[in-house]
């Protein structure tokens, strides 16, 4: 019999992975796996180094001539400045506990997405350039020299980390990979390698107060627009207070929710809730952004952008600050704001004017999370709620990385959710609360050009959603983060089609029975409420 060609000859593929050490595998940039670089105009505006046109797919990245010295100097400065960074560089014993915990690794299988190896990209340079053993033993000690390929590799993998900190949860030493990524991104910024999706919002925020560069009058226009929708739904005309001096509370939330589906429904929910309570509060067109893309750029940028929260609270003379549903905004507030821009001793520890509850956990920052505020209202019976208006929704809750792992906010949003919607089921425990899986688009990676990578990173979350969709007929994924509200719809569309995404206060607004409201026949999305489906058809 003639020799039979093997079946794999049809596709001529070598199935085995090349047996090369990771140091010898250069980063391969393919569209879909990287975010577009920062635009020169934006870099110039921010005063960031090396503004230029370039692309990661170019062979020449047009680094400054002395790029090596710049990075080494920056590295040394950060090792001296942050004791934690030095410890994280020295202490890892490569036990592998973190290896399979990263959503990007779980989805891609790329070993450089293992948190231990991601950090090793930086550690190898630390050893090779800063330790005696590394200088002498070189590769034997896991050390290497800083070459241009290393910079490219850093750019690829430190912009494939969403700083979600799931890996840190499993590290016996508590090494915070998010902070390692932050250091690496700072070093990259020193030689002009950063991404536009982070820098442009940071620049906008610096200029107009919010990520989109919305100017005060336009921000107010947009609010009016949403109030018209509220009037259509409830029959109640609301004029929310803006920049009101002497109000008791300043409310700050991400600007992402004022213009994009489905965030606007949550935004409208806040307006309705505060109106119903008769709260003495104000919005601000200056502190019109809760998010802080400085966190993904550098500590100085983060501090500067965060500064407006206290500055505006002081200018308006409020007693305390209430914060909306957002993810990384709460990491900045909970972990850095007090030491960065505090102490805010001109403010008071938040006390709910409705229930009298004093929120001592927020005594440091003087800023309270809306989920805690609303949970307290419900607990004290201050809200009239009709959960039957959400009866068509079968919900589950996505713990956003930062409120979950950054501040331990697990119960309050679930408590609120269960009170406004009778159908609630949690996803499997290894995918929620402190073990929650990222949406794949945090830390400034929620851009459209990164969609393929976002879907890879979104697989673990998507699998858990699909599971409850099939097992419990879940059709709505509720979340308390504006970035999640933008990133989870496509994630569900790809991994669990048929599941929609909603904010917590959108569902609160659906259920909220308001004084003087007309008969409610539609939800916040102006879709018929359960029981009113026929009415719409008759029209």
């Amino acid at each position: 019999m003639a020799k039979l060609p093997p079946p794999e000859e049809l596709v001529k593929i070598n199935y085995s992975t090349p047996v090369k050490g990771w140091m010898d595998v250069p980063a391969d940039f393919r569209p879909g796996t990287f975010s577009y670089p920062g635009k020169p105009d934006i870099l110039k505006y921010l005063g960031f180094p090396n503004p230029r046109e370039w692309s990661p797919t170019d062979a020449d990245w047009k680094l400054p001539p002395d790029w090596r010295e710049i990075i080494m100097k920056g590295f040394r400065e950060r090792l001296d400045k942050y004791r934690s960074f030095k410890v994280f560089m020295d202490i890892c014993v490569r036990c592998g506990a973190c290896a399979d915990k990263c959503h990007f690794y779980i989805g891609s299988g790329d070993p450089k997405n293992m948190p231990v190896l991601r950090a090793e990209l930086l550690r190898s340079i630390y050893r090779g350039e800063f330790t005696v053993a590394g200088k002498i033993l070189s590769r034997l000690a896991g050390a290497r020299k800083l070459e241009e390929d290393v910079v490219k590799e850093w750019f690829m993998y430190f912009y494939q980390c969403t700083e979600c900190r799931r890996c840190s949860l499993f590290c016996p030493y508590g090494i915070d990979t998010a902070e390692i990524t932050m250091m690496a991104r700072e070093l990259l910024t020193l030689v002009g390698c950063n991404i536009n999706w982070i820098l442009e919002p940071a620049a906008n925020c610096n200029r107009t107060g919010n990520h989109l560069g919305i100017q005060p009058h336009a921000y107010k226009d947009m609010m009016d627009f949403l109030c018209e929708d509220i009037e259509t739904i409830t029959g109640i005309h609301i004029e929310p207070p803006v920049n009101k001096k002497g109000a008791e509370i300043l409310f700050i939330t991400p600007s992402g929710d004022i213009f994009a589906d489905p965030g606007i429904y949550t935004y409208m929910g806040y307006i309705m809730l505060f109106h119903e309570l008769g709260l003495d509060y104000t919005w601000s067109t200056y502190a019109s952004e809760g998010g802080n893309f400085g966190l993904f750029t550098s500590d100085t940028m983060m501090k500067k952008l965060n500064g407006k929260m206290y500055a505006e609270a002081k200018r308006l003379g409020v007693k305390w600050i209430l914060g909306g549903e957002c993810g990384h905004m709460w990491r900045v507030i909970n972990q850095y704001m007090d030491t960065m821009n505090g102490p805010a001793d001109f403010l008071e520890t938040p006390v709910s004017p409705i229930t009298g509850t004093r929120f001592d956990a927020a005594a440091g920052t003087k800023m309270l999370h809306i989920a805690e505020f609303t949970a307290d209202l419900i607990k004290n019976g201050k809200l009239k709620l009709d959960p039957s208006r959400n009866a068509n929704l079968r919900t589950t809750f996505h713990d956003s990385c930062n409120p979950a792992r950054g501040m331990g906010l697990f119960e309050e949003p679930r408590y609120v959710l269960k009170n406004v919607c009778e159908n609630f089921v949690d996803m499997p425990e290894e995918t929620i609360r402190e073990q929650t899986f990222c949406c794949g688009g945090g830390a400034g990676l929620n851009n459209e050009e990164f969609m393929e990578m976002r879907m890879r990173g979104g697989l673990p979350r998507g699998s858990a959603v699909k599971y409850v969709q099939e097992k419990n007929q879940v059709n709505t994924l509720v979340t308390i983060c504006a970035i999640d509200r933008a990133t989870l719809p496509p994630l569900c569309d790809y991994w669990a089609p048929g599941v929609q995404v909603a904010g917590l206060h959108e569902l609160v607004a659906n259920a909220l029975v308001m004084e003087g409201e007309q008969e409610r026949t539609m939800n916040m999305r102006q879709e018929p409420l359960p029981g009113f489906e026929d009415a719409e058809e008759e029209e």
């Binding site: 794999e8 989805g107 989109l212 226009d221 890879r456 933008a486 790809y494």
Partner: protein, 185 residues
């Protein structure tokens, strides 16, 4: 005289295990090891989708009595292809896993196929495997189209709302049929 189906049924476990190994070998060595060991479907979705997917595919191929194996196998193919469509693979590499079954069958069962002269059945089965490869290509293309559609939708969602709400462009949600505008302006 055993049929090819009997032969495969009898050796199902080792055949599936080898097929799984070959598919996992398209990933990095340490990854293949981890994904083979870790059985939790939530913390190891890729390994589990492949493990359960190939089992389903093989069952569909063998149980083909009324010719509906393609329809039944599509669900399992989707579980695997949907993942490989967003991983670092060329299109041919993404769907190649199906051909690895042919490799496994030929290499592991060759002696018995030869002894029992089951080549006609083998050819028929291989043709069915080939048709699943084409089906995988359809699924792959759907997944990639979906990715691009999601990108477009994301851009549109941001731009359109902004322009509308900033009153730069007009919306038509308030306009009734016949051109009468319900809003006072």
């Amino acid at each position: 005289m055993p049929t090819l189906s009997d032969l495969i049924e009898k050796n199902k476990e080792p055949l599936l295990s080898r097929w799984l190994d070959l598919i996992l070998a398209t990933y990095a060595k340490e990854t293949a090891l981890l994904w083979k060991q870790q059985r939790n479907q939530f913390t190891n979705p890729v390994g589990n989708r492949i493990r359960e997917g190939i089992q389903g595919i093989l069952t569909c191929l063998l149980a083909d009595e009324n010719g509906s194996y393609q329809e039944q196998a599509a669900v399992f193919l989707d579980d695997i292809v949907r993942v490989r469509a967003v991983q670092d693979f060329k299109p041919s590499e993404a769907v190649s896993f199906i051909y690895l079954l042919k490799k496994v069958l030929r290499e592991d069962l060759w002696a018995e196929i030869k002894a029992s002269d089951l080549f006609v059945e083998l050819l028929a089965l291989e043709s069915r495997i080939d048709s699943l490869a084409l089906l995988s290509l359809d699924i792959y293309a759907n997944c990639r189209e979906k990715l691009y559609a999601m990108r477009i939708k994301e851009v549109k969602n941001v731009q359109k709302r902004l322009l509308e709400r900033a009153n730069i462009i007009c919306g038509y949600s308030d306009v009734q049929a016949g051109g009468e505008d319900r809003s006072p302006e």
